[in-house]
């Protein structure tokens, strides 16, 4: 259950929104996406100073002790600004994995560094299939009493700015999670040009990289962390969908053709009404799933998969229709609609494809109704 009151949550969200209005507004975003790193470390430090990078980390490790409810609410804000950076990887997934580690002294140091903003984590969770619930292509083997990683990890978000990376690896047919330092010369990182300019994706090649295993972090802990990441991403997608939907509805009211606002035409009204159903459904399920995780409900995984594919698909549909509803103006790069659309496209494949998640959801429903 979340320790935060509704007022506390609203207050922290309001400060975060003010921070982003000042530091991550559209002109700043457009400057940032032209840079190679695509990341604003100064802003990250400000977020850390506000307690945001440690939002899921316990107070004993200098974190803010929040639950998935706070994470979801904050990411709705972030999504509206198309915030760039590994917030979900470094501040949601990595802390969940570190928390599951049996060696809490080792994990504690890293959690503290994440909360302080001094250390940024990437998470390498998949092979070229892109699905985080499959066995990764990276293989871990013990050599002279040390763990060594070999193989490649794909679609690693913001590996280019991370200090550390948690790598999911195949340990004799099971998933194990390993910590590596990104400065290790045995890691080759290839930064790609991403179809989504607000995202940075790399492929990492491991050539016998010495790694520390997160003791006790097994398949169950891995999928638990993944579920947290999925719901965090769902929140971000809701925020993005809300923003581009609002921009679109405002435009339908001010753009005139044939002597009337184009929003008075039924063909556009009906599209807008249908999109509102998609938007509200995404909002309801993202918030519900976050509450289910925070409360430790039995159906938390079911609801998380439902939230994940719903928010990914509905964001994509809303952003895609937003371009169509605007008409020509949104076919220009100066208009922000395509940025939301590209972000929504990349979200279709983050962690797991929507189709894969739909199948996982059905499998959970089958289990619940045997």
């Amino acid at each position: 259950m979340s320790e935060y009151s509704q007022e506390d949550r609203q207050a922290i969200c309001a400060s975060f929104a003010r921070l982003l209005e000042e530091n991550a507004n559209e002109p700043k975003l457009r400057e940032l996406i032209e840079t190679r790193s695509g990341f604003d470390r100064e802003l990250w430090q400000k977020m850390a100073d506000m307690g945001l990078t440690g939002i899921t980390i316990a107070p004993e490790h200098s974190g803010a002790g929040g639950s998935l409810e706070e994470v979801e609410a904050l990411l709705e804000i972030a999504g509206g600004f198309l915030l760039c950076g590994p917030f979900i990887e470094s501040c949601v997934i990595a802390p969940a994995l570190l928390l599951a580690c049996e060696d809490q002294e080792f994990a504690g140091q890293h959690l503290q560094a994440i909360a302080a903003g001094s250390s940024i984590f990437a998470v390498a969770g998949c092979g070229s299939s892109g699905d985080w619930d499959e066995l990764p292509d990276v293989v871990a083997e013990q050599q002279d009493g040390h763990w060594c990683l070999s193989g490649s990890a794909h679609f690693v978000a913001y590996a280019n700015v991370a200090d550390h990376c948690l790598v999911a690896a195949n340990v004799q047919g099971e998933i194990g999670v390993f910590l590596v330092a990104m400065e290790d010369p045995a890691i080759t990182a290839t930064l790609h040009k991403s179809s989504d300019p607000t995202q940075r994706l790399s492929t990492l090649s491991f050539d016998s990289v010495r790694a520390t295993r997160l003791a006790g972090v097994d398949e169950q802990a891995w999928s638990g962390a993944l579920v947290n990441g999925l719901v965090a991403l769902a929140g971000e997608q809701v925020g993005g969908a809300q923003r581009i939907f609002t921009i679109t509805i405002e435009y339908l009211k001010i753009r005139h053709q044939f002597g009337q606002a184009i929003g008075s035409f039924q063909s556009l009204k009906h599209m807008a009404a249908d999109l509102l159903v998609e938007l509200e459904s995404a909002t309801s399920v993202a918030r519900h799933a976050a509450r289910a995780i925070a409360a430790g409900n039995e159906d938390a995984a079911t609801m998380s998969y439902l939230a994940a594919f719903t928010c990914a698909d509905n964001y994509r549909r809303i952003a895609a229709d937003a371009i169509q509803l605007h008409g020509g103006i949104a076919y220009t790069v100066e208009h922000p609609a395509h940025l939301y659309w590209r972000r929504a496209q990349s979200g279709q494949w983050a962690y797991c494809s929507s189709d894969r998640l739909r199948d996982l959801y059905l499998a959970e429903m089958e289990k619940n109704h045997e």
């Binding site: 039924q266 807008a272 009404a273 249908d274 609801m303 739909r358 109704h369």
Partner: protein, 390 residues
């Protein structure tokens, strides 16, 4: 305060109602009119109304306590201030004279039927053509109404009529409470594509209604009608929330059972469709739960008006996927599964057409929730007699 109400209603029920046999204490069989009269006279049929008009002047928790006490004992007659549309409308808009004459009678009798839609006025309700012409102290009514439930049982109907054709369509309408049991009122059941007959046509020929039965003002019936349909939408909304409780805990979803029974759950593309259909159902439930929270906090929720569109997608989708699971066997109605799938496919239109089509609902959502400008209504300002008809 609250405890007194609760204790009083429980004592009253225990001394008047036989929960075990579901009838009045000391009676041999359940007599609806006799029981309803007792409930109305005790103030429990419409506790939110004023004491002057059969109520107790209560609200919030007290009203819920009364309803709960009745429900617990399976005693009918509660919530007439929420569900008896005729009585609610008369209570809100009727003159004291009309309330004095009809309110008690309505509360103690069957619900009123709704004489709104016509063959030529469905989505565009202000286009009604049933005429009411003044004749002495009465109006004489001629016309045809359609999609009327309970028309056979109802003693009264809420009737929308045209009383002036020389003014624009919204301005020449008068709303009546109309006696159904008279010559000149003929009820014919409608045979639906589902095989059912839930609705009727009502043919009205030289029937009479007293002038004092006008609800609201003469020629201002459109305003009164808005009050009546607002109460109706509230009831429909409540229906949605009442039905949608429990998420993963509810009984096994029908599509899952059907696919399992017919050995189709292993097929990847069908799994995608089934999963999406189950998702739509759960998402609608979550939206309605959020609406209930909103209503608790802010007294209203715009989410309520999305339920109808969601439900249409759910029902049409599930019917289509059921047929897909059955394959060509769906063509042979000897089997129950095929009969159900075909019935559901037809029944889905009840949701997407009934109570205003989904297309009208999209207009309403776009205009009232999103604030988009109203579509041009070309006949809004011209005299009704000049309006084009099909």
């Amino acid at each position: 305060m609250s405890d007194n109400v609760k204790i009083a209603v429980e004592e009253w029920l225990d001394s008047h109602w036989d929960s075990e046999n579901r009838r009045e204490l000391g009676s041999q069989a359940y007599d609806e009119r006799s029981w309803l009269t007792k409930v109305v006279d005790a103030g429990y049929a419409a506790p939110s109304w004023s004491r002057e008009w059969f109520g107790l002047g209560l609200n919030g928790r007290d009203v819920r306590d009364i309803e709960k006490a009745f429900q617990k004992r399976h005693a009918p007659g509660w919530g007439r201030d929420r569900f008896h549309l005729g009585a609610i409308t008369i209570y809100k808009l009727g003159s004291d004279e009309l309330k004095g004459e009809l309110l008690h009678k309505l509360l103690c009798g069957p619900i009123c039927c709704l004489l709104y839609s016509e063959p030529g006025a469905g989505s565009d309700m202000a286009g009604i053509r049933t005429r009411a012409v003044k004749d002495g102290e009465d109006f004489v009514v001629n016309g045809q109404k359609v999609w009327t439930s309970n028309a056979k049982e109802a003693e009264y109907g809420m009737l929308l009529t045209r009383t002036d054709i020389d003014v624009p369509k919204h301005e020449g309408i008068t709303f009546f409470i109309f006696p159904m049991k008279q010559e000149g009122v003929e009820v014919r059941p409608i045979n639906q594509i589902t095989g059912e007959s839930e609705f009727n046509e009502v043919f009205i020929t030289d029937a009479r209604v007293p002038e004092r039965y006008i609800i609201g003002e003469y020629n201002e019936g459109w305003k009164s009608f808005q009050v009546a349909i607002a109460s109706e939408r509230l009831i429909m909304g409540m229906g949605v929330t009442a039905r949608s409780s429990g998420l993963t805990s509810d009984k096994s979803p029908a599509l899952l059972r059907l696919a399992r029974k017919h050995g189709r759950l292993g097929e990847a593309s069908l799994r995608q469709e089934i999963a999406q259909a189950l998702a739509y159902r759960q998402l609608n439930t979550l939206n309605m739960q959020r609406a209930v929270e909103d209503i608790k906090q802010n007294g209203m929720s715009s989410l309520m008006s999305l339920g109808k569109l969601s439900m249409s997608r759910i029902q049409h989708g599930e019917a289509r996927i059921s047929a897909k699971i059955l394959g060509p066997q769906v063509l042979l109605e000897d089997e129950e599964d095929a009969r159900n799938a075909n019935f559901d496919a037809a029944k889905a239109y009840m949701n997407s057409i009934g109570g205003g089509t989904d297309q009208i609902q999209r207009n309403i959502i776009a205009e009232r929730i999103l604030g988009l400008p109203k579509s041009a209504d070309v006949d809004r300002t011209i005299p009704f007699k000049d309006v084009k008809t099909s």
